[in-house]
């Protein structure tokens, strides 16, 4: 690319992390506020700055200078979320906005300045619109190139066309935002961007490397990077309004089918596929019903229609009363139906197998399980994920079918490496085991976990039990883990006592003692009864519990 850098207008909101904290969390930005990351001040409010708080200070120092300081944690996601309305407001005035970072966005200045009658008028219009729409104070800088415009925005300056090199020449090298390079330049006696830009480009490349050469170009005002303009997200939602409220399932199914086809067409037109679908219905009495369906494959028009039909079936037939997750039967018919594609991804050529078999069984199983989810609710069908943990119940997390399979606690896969070598028929199993082991390289060891074999029956709520010794006295475990006598008889609940043939323990665990609400101090026993059954017992605070059965 040749020629001068593009004329750029940059909108900058000062102290954006502080403002974002006010917008999202309601921390008043007029008070002294500091946003901290890793114990260092990242941003602070005007009043905090007046009290002497600066970027890079430690928390203690900042609080020492300003005792009334409100401290907020740095959260880049919050900043980005809060900035979204500002970008939308700018887009209402001009088109083609690039978000540089939360708190700053850039756009090509040429179009707006011609349309709105001059650069100054355009800047005023944008700042005013942002202030009116979002109640956010902002400043605008216009210069040649994004870098220079960012610096101009700090002073709210409009650098005249061609004046950018002179504007930059007076600024200190710290403006480059590269601390190590700046430090080196200062020690070499290069103090301003003008001094830096005066160095021969070849020598800068040889001495400071590629990044140094880029910084040199910026300092000279030759910022050729074009704006990466944000594409406003396409609105994929489809809505159907019905004059006559729908209160029969077959009518709803018919409505669902047309709507599903409409959505599918719209998605296909954008080359997208839908993995999560929100179905919303509004009744004539203003009740809103919403549920999200997940699907880890591709939702076809028929699949979308099925889901809508199942859900409306569930609502309208009103077979509720079980499973608290289900909404009550609506009091009126449905007048508006909306399909919101929640998770969309580019349709990356999902093709059926050459012989039509690939994934056919998987499709079939998914259809059946979604059907059951339609009958009982999405949480009724679960899949187990193994993770770390000490007790058999801790190691397993039950995830609703279709959700992402993430373990509750990080940890090694409970299967030790001595798993029998997988047969040739299932090579993907071996791969998954290996990749899991590699991914969880720094996995915690969970000392004190129950050794294999794992119990086949894990009780969700442990059963109270009583254990007596041969003399009929209750067996107790002292704080120093001394068992008062050998257990001889086990009584579960109100059942008959059973003879204990073999036992081992206590295996102590003292978990989460730093969090009183979740703390658990138990001693576990494996017990074998005379009739051949084996149990996992635990004693906590003098109470014996049956945790699991080796069935």
């Amino acid at each position: 690319m040749s020629g001068a850098p593009a004329r750029t207008l940059l909108l900058w909101c000062p102290d954006w992390p502080v403002l974002a904290a006010e917008i999202v969390d309601g921390v008043p930005a007029t008070d002294p506020v500091a946003v901290l990351h890793a114990n260092r001040v990242v941003a602070c409010s005007e009043r905090a700055r007046a009290e002497g708080v600066r970027r890079g200070l430690r928390r203690r120092e900042a609080q020492g200078r300003c005792p009334q300081l409100t401290v907020v944690d740095h959260d880049p996601a919050r900043d980005a979320r809060a900035f979204e309305p500002v970008v939308a407001a700018v887009e209402e005035v001009v088109a083609g906005v690039e978000v540089i970072r939360p708190g700053a966005c850039a756009l090509a200045a040429r179009g707006p300045s011609r349309y709105l009658g001059g650069e100054e008028a355009a800047a005023e219009r944008i700042v005013e619109h942002v202030a009116q729409t979002c109640a956010v104070e902002s400043q605008v800088g216009i210069a040649d190139g994004v870098f220079a415009a960012g610096l101009a925005a700090r002073d709210g300056r409009l650098v005249p066309p061609g004046g950018t090199p002179e504007f930059l020449a007076g600024l200190p090298v710290e403006a480059l935002g590269r601390p190590t390079l700046t430090d080196l330049l200062r020690r070499l006696g290069v103090r301003t961007l003008g001094d830096f830009a005066a160095l021969p480009a070849g020598d800068v490349l040889a001495r400071f490397g590629f990044d140094g050469a880029l910084a040199h170009r910026l300092a000279a005002g030759r910022d050729h990077r074009p704006l990466a303009v944000r594409q406003p997200p396409a609105d994929l939602t489809v809505t159907a309004d019905h004059d006559e409220p729908i209160d029969r399932v077959d009518a709803a199914a018919f409505a669902a089918r047309t709507l599903a086809e409409q959505l599918h067409e719209r998605l296909a037109a954008h080359g997208l596929a839908c993995t999560r679908l929100g179905i919303e219905a509004v009744t004539a009495h203003g009740q809103e019903l919403h549920r999200v369906w997940r699907h880890d494959g591709l939702l076809t028009a028929a699949a979308i229609a099925d889901r809508v039909r199942w859900q409306l079936d569930g609502w309208l037939s009103g077979s509720n009363g079980r499973g608290g997750a289900r909404p009550a039967r609506p009091t009126a018919g449905i007048i508006r139906l909306r399909l919101v594609p929640d998770g969309v991804l580019a349709q990356a050529g999902l093709q059926p197998g050459l012989w039509g078999e690939t994934g056919e069984e998987r499709e079939r199983a998914h259809r059946a399980l979604s059907r059951v989810q339609g009958i009982l609710g999405p949480e009724a069908v679960v899949t187990a994920v193994l993770g770390g943990g000490r007790s058999p119940a801790d190691q397993v997390r039950l995830v609703p079918w279709g959700d992402e399979r993430l373990p509750a606690r990080p940890g090694p896969p409970p299967l030790p490496t001595a798993e029998p070598p997988p047969p040739a028929a299932a090579p993907e199993r071996a791969v998954s085991t290996r990749s899991r082991a590699a991914a969880s390289a720094p996995a915690p060891p969970w000392p004190g976990r129950i050794p294999p074999p794992a119990p086949a029956v894990v009780l969700p709520t442990p059963l109270p039990a009583a254990v007596h010794d041969a003399a009929g006295e209750p067996v107790v475990v002292s704080a120093r883990l001394v068992v008062s006598a050998a257990p001889a008889r086990l009584t579960v609940g109100t059942g008959r006592p059973a003879e204990i043939a073999g036992w081992v323990g206590p295996w102590p665990v003292d978990e989460r003692w730093w969090a009183p609400a979740e703390a658990r101090r138990r001693a576990r026993f494996q017990v074998c009864l005379a009739d051949g059954a084996a149990l996992l017992l635990a004693v906590e605070g003098g109470q014996w519990l049956v945790e699991a059965i080796y069935d």
Binding site: E361, R364, A365, H366, A368, L369, R371, V372, I375, L376, A380, V381, V382, T383, A384, L386, P392, Q395, V396, L398, R405, P414, L415, P416, A418, P420, P421, P422, P423, A425, A426, R429, P445, P447, G448, R449, I450, P451, P452, P453, A454, P455, A456, V457, V458, V483, A501, G502, W503, V504, R524, Q526, V527, C528, D531, G532, A534, A548, Y550, D551
Partner: protein, 267 residues
């Protein structure tokens, strides 16, 4: 060169067959089971469309749940989808140890009063459906579900009282090994399983299997000193463990012994 070609075609002869030929021994119609359990089942596997009940038994014997896991393991490993209905106490850790692929295993812990609908819906799409039988199931519902499984080619494994199953497996006895008075830990269990049924399975059979075997409990942590120091409860009595499979030339011998189950005899 020609010799190698001959060897190659001989190896392929078992795998290749003309499209017109019938499936050898049922082919895909039978889901595989572990070699130790093949003797119990009429087709040496889980025949699609059949109902294989696992009885709870009176008085209750330890081992029925492990028997179900063992039945599913080989089919799940070979790529079949399984579902377990009405078992809120399902031990997923034991399932994974038995060799079941958990990402192809769906659980419906509480089907509630819609149990027949749920089981019927699962039969439509899942290869093996294990279900705990509610006490209030009428004979007609049971027959309908079995017929549906036959029609759709799924294997129905009811757990509990079920009349009219093709095969009913029953745990006769389960004896744990490895636990003494105040020492040791559970290592393996010898389970005696009996099978009786209709047709080809009419003659009662009884075998003994290890459920679970000791292939997991034999493992010694690699760094014994550190392991004993950091995991006192994980390996209780590590000093008393007998090292079975040391590294070295005998490792291959250990691997050949490391079957998931071991037949200890058959009646």
């Amino acid at each position: 060169m020609a010799g190698r070609m001959v060897v190659g075609s001989a190896a392929l002869a078992e795998l290749v067959r003309p499209a017109s030929a019938p499936d050898p021994a049922g082919g895909h119609r039978v889901l595989p089971v572990r070699p130790e359990l093949t003797g119990l089942l009429p087709n040496r596997g889980l025949r699609r469309g059949s109902t294989i009940a696992v009885g709870a038994g009176q008085p209750r014997r330890s081992g029925a749940t492990s028997l179900i896991l063992a039945l599913l393991a080989e089919a799940s490993r070979a790529g079949s989808w399984c579902a377990v209905v009405g078992v809120p106490t399902f031990g997923a850790g034991a399932a994974a140890e038995a060799g079941i692929a958990l990402d192809r295993l769906a659980l419906v812990p509480n089907p509630g009063p819609e149990w027949p609908t749920v089981v019927a819906a699962l039969i439509d799409g899942v290869d093996v459906v294990v279900t705990a039988v509610p006490t209030t199931v009428s004979a007609s519902v049971a027959t309908r579900l079995a017929a549906r499984a036959r029609q759709r080619g799924s294997v129905l494994v009811p757990y509990g009282r079920w009349d009219g199953a093709d095969v009913t497996l029953q745990v006769v006895r389960g004896v744990w090994e490895g636990l003494g008075p105040g020492r040791g830990r559970l290592r393996r269990r010898e389970v005696t399983v009996s099978a009786r049924g209709r047709g080809a399975a009419a003659r009662p059979k009884e075998i003994k299997v290890w459920l679970p075997g000791d292939e997991l409990t034999r493992v010694i942590p690699r760094s014994t000193g550190l392991g004993a120091a950091t995991r006192p409860a994980a390996v209780p009595g590590a000093g008393r463990l007998r090292v079975v499979a040391p590294a070295g030339p005998s490792a291959s011998a250990a691997r050949s012994r490391r079957g998931p189950l071991t037949v200890v005899g058959s009646a």
